[in-house]
């Protein structure tokens, strides 16, 4: 069964064998960035951790889950149209418009469009849901959404494996992109949360 093979490949020599390592590299980069910025700039800010800690913690975990998919996509460069749509949509809805575009472009205009639309929709829906749920266990909902997104992203890893099972990897790279993207996403998240415009409920 393909799922068993996929699990086996997590220990193998293919790109899937790098998923766990990529996850850890991303986690280390993001948390290091977060703690450095915290100790250099934000330590003296009143209630920084209690106001933003929970959300930044889960944002960093989400980025770490997204990075292996990005690496997997980059390893093969070319995918069929339908796969491109799925990649663009999944990653687009997870982190937004730019990464959706970035990943969806491997598969032509369909992938790009799907990435743009999903990122746009996901970003707006996230903000609106947060406002609507402000008094209704927002943090608990955040954890549930994180778990569901994690399962979907793992599903994307599996789908990519199935699609590329018989193909040769065409792009080899070190963890540079993982580190750069994790760093940028973490910095942007901190900037948006702390210094970006806020709705009245989060002021």
């Amino acid at each position: 069964m393909a799922l068993n093979e996929f699990v086996k490949e997590l220990n193998g020599e293919r790109i899937e064998g790098e998923i766990i390592k990529t996850l850890m590299v991303s986690l280390i980069t993001s948390f290091l960035t977060l703690f450095l910025i915290y100790y250099i700039k934000l330590r003296d800010m009143n209630n920084f951790i209690s106001d933003y800690g929970f959300f930044l913690f889960f944002a960093v975990l989400s980025y770490a889950l997204i990075m292996p998919s990005i690496r997997q996509v980059r390893a093969f460069k070319q995918f069929p149209c339908m796969t491109g749509m799925m990649i663009g949509m999944t990653i687009g809805m997870s982190v937004g418009i730019f990464l959706g575009y970035f990943n969806g472009r491997c598969c032509g205009i369909m992938g790009i469009m799907e990435g743009l639309m999903a990122g746009f929709m996901g970003g707006l829906m996230g903000a609106m849901t947060a406002i609507m749920m402000y008094n209704d266990n927002l943090k608990l909902a955040g954890v549930i959404i994180f778990v569901i997104c994690s399962v979907i992203l793992l599903g994307l890893n599996y789908m990519l494996y199935k699609e590329t099972k018989f193909e040769e990897r065409i792009h080899y790279e070190d963890q540079f992109i993982t580190i750069v993207l994790s760093f940028l996403l973490t910095v942007l998240s901190i900037w948006f949360m702390v210094f970006g415009p806020k709705g009245v409920l989060f002021q």
Binding site: G17, I20, M24, L27, L34, I49, S50, F54, I131, Q203
Partner: protein, 159 residues
């Protein structure tokens, strides 16, 4: 299933990082809410909260700084999301229900402040007087009313 040694190390590392970061966040977090449930043995300012013409009305609408305020909501004329009340300046938020219609907080600064519903559709104002009874010049900036659902008090539209 046999796990490759390097992957096992990575997994342990991931778990450790998450545990360390998670415990740091939890240990540094503190409950900031000063909403209800506080046992208070001093004076209490009792305020009636209701909705009229899509706005919150507080009677009386002036409180003293440093004295506990108990807001009692009249749910009979508070529809939809007007029952979800937020006072951003004092980090107060609560959703009223028929058996829990009270908010308590201690205003620790003087001025004129906003009270809004959780979707920013219903709004109102109240004034906190200085400890000596004088009125402060501070007026909290008006919150732009009307959320993504449009104006008019209709909450609950969504994606």
């Amino acid at each position: 299933m046999k796990i490759k040694k390097s992957n096992l190390l990575y997994l342990v590392g991931i778990l450790l990082i998450i545990l360390l970061a998670g415990s740091f966040v939890i240990s540094k977090s503190e409950n900031l809410s000063n909403v209800s449930g506080t046992v208070y043995n001093g004076d209490v300012q009792i305020v009636k909260l209701s909705v009229q013409n899509g706005n919150y009305v507080l009677e009386p609408s002036e409180f003293k700084e440093g004295v506990l305020v108990r807001i009692e909501a009249d749910l009979s004329n508070m529809p939809g999301c007007s029952r979800s009340v937020v006072i951003p300046s004092f980090k107060v938020s609560k959703t009223f229900s028929s058996n829990n219609n009270i908010i308590e907080f201690i205003p620790d600064k003087a001025g004129t402040f906003n009270i809004v519903c959780s979707m920013n559709m219903y709004s109102g104002k109240f004034t906190v007087l200085e400890k000596n009874g004088t009125k402060s010049d501070y007026v909290e900036q008006k919150i732009n009313s009307g959320s993504s659902c449009g104006a008019g008090g209709g909450c609950g539209c969504g994606g």
